[in-house]
Symmetry: C2
Subunit: 236 residues, 2 copies
Amino acid sequence: MSTTRGARARAREEVTAAIKDEARRQLAAEGAAKLSLRAVARELGMVSSALYRYFPSRDDLLTALIIDAYDSIGEAAERADAALLKKGDGVAPVRRWVAVGEAVRAWALAHPHEYALIYGSPVPGYTAPMTTVPAASRVGLLFIGIVRDAHQGRGVAEPPLSVELRPEAERLAAELAPDLPPAVVAALVAAWAQLFGLIGFELFGQFNRVVEDRAAFFSHAATQLAHGVGLVLPRA
Amino acid sequence: MSTTRGARARAREEVTAAIKDEARRQLAAEGAAKLSLRAVARELGMVSSALYRYFPSRDDLLTALIIDAYDSIGEAAERADAALLKKGDGVAPVRRWVAVGEAVRAWALAHPHEYALIYGSPVPGYTAPMTTVPAASRVGLLFIGIVRDAHQGRGVAEPPLSVELRPEAERLAAELAPDLPPAVVAALVAAWAQLFGLIGFELFGQFNRVVEDRAAFFSHAATQLAHGVGLVLPRA
DNA sequence: TCTCAAGCGAGAGCACTGCTCTCGAAAACG
DNA sequence: CGTTTTCGAGAGCAGTGCTCTCGCTTGAGA
């Protein structure tokens, strides 16, 4: 199939991958603002105009990197959860929640510029195209899955829900997890955003000269967030 | 004083202010990435090199805008709190907390690019200079003040605190608010970061196709955050 | 009051960017 | 085999941040 489809197509994929790799290298080294198409081309031994055969613009290259980053952080999160599940079958959902949060944080610390690309401020004029949606959803879906498992195991205490938010909570639940109580889904979405708020503040320097033991701080806060969603502690 | 110090110095301040104003206009219109020194100079009817008499580099202009933005959002938050306090003297701290949160969110929605500048990903080679610290602290200090007032009024229920976080919590309390219990201070710092996480997710598009009634969602989440810090509901 | 250094704007110029267009070679297809 | 598509190279355009030099203006000290 894809091998018979010609050396042409295969070469194209290879060059495309090489461009992305080099771009990712520059991204990690200097940040998105200093990512230069010409520098990428130069490093690859080709001329800048040749690069436009593969990516119609700098923003399209960025978009490709964004999707890859979403997939990378999503996979890191999923692996952390899977590794925990493999250890034993009685894993408390709280532990899974915190482990996934810590995995996300670890990925962010290891790839700060890529994290900034996807969870920081959107770059130029640029609105993320629909193609990024599936990759971007992976971490969120993982959290939903954990809460769902907890709910099926009767491990969820329903969080409070104000009357003002009830309609929105029901809409959220219908769209994201119809099998979960609206109050849980609303709390889940909020906790999801808040978790990334903690990571963003740490990564973007807001915790400088404030929080010192950031790992402990994050784990504690993530645990509290899990409680807020209704995930209860394992019976000690 | 400053008037006798010469028309020279006054002209300098005026030009500096004009540059910042025009830069802020471009920032609001197109974002930090498209802020161009040359375009600012062009709009002001001067040549680009003249601008370097006032700001030694583009990054220095950005830094000035960052400080102004921090001051602006801090002032917006403080005004919201003051306005609430003026209405009556028995204002529940929870209400103040939520009002300040909503003011911060409103400012962010009104100045998305400036918000991205200060709470989004740091721009080029970054490392915010020390000079930004006081302005950057205003919102945080305001939250601390609210919790402190609540504590003096016996309106704080101490949040849970894991043994792992106790040392860090005590350090935080000693540094930020020695008169408050470490558990409260730790929860406060976490809630502070989480609140901006909610705003960032809304502003940077993470809530697109997810949360619809964002105002209600934010108010609810902010209220929950206040409870997490220990601010209790007013006795109904 | 006069003088001279400091402050300032204009202009040219450097190295760099994203992007477009054209041209010739090479590969793929009929 | 010929034709069409694909690709890289090169030149070029408009724009960027930033530096340097050159004169004009202005304000402060002798």
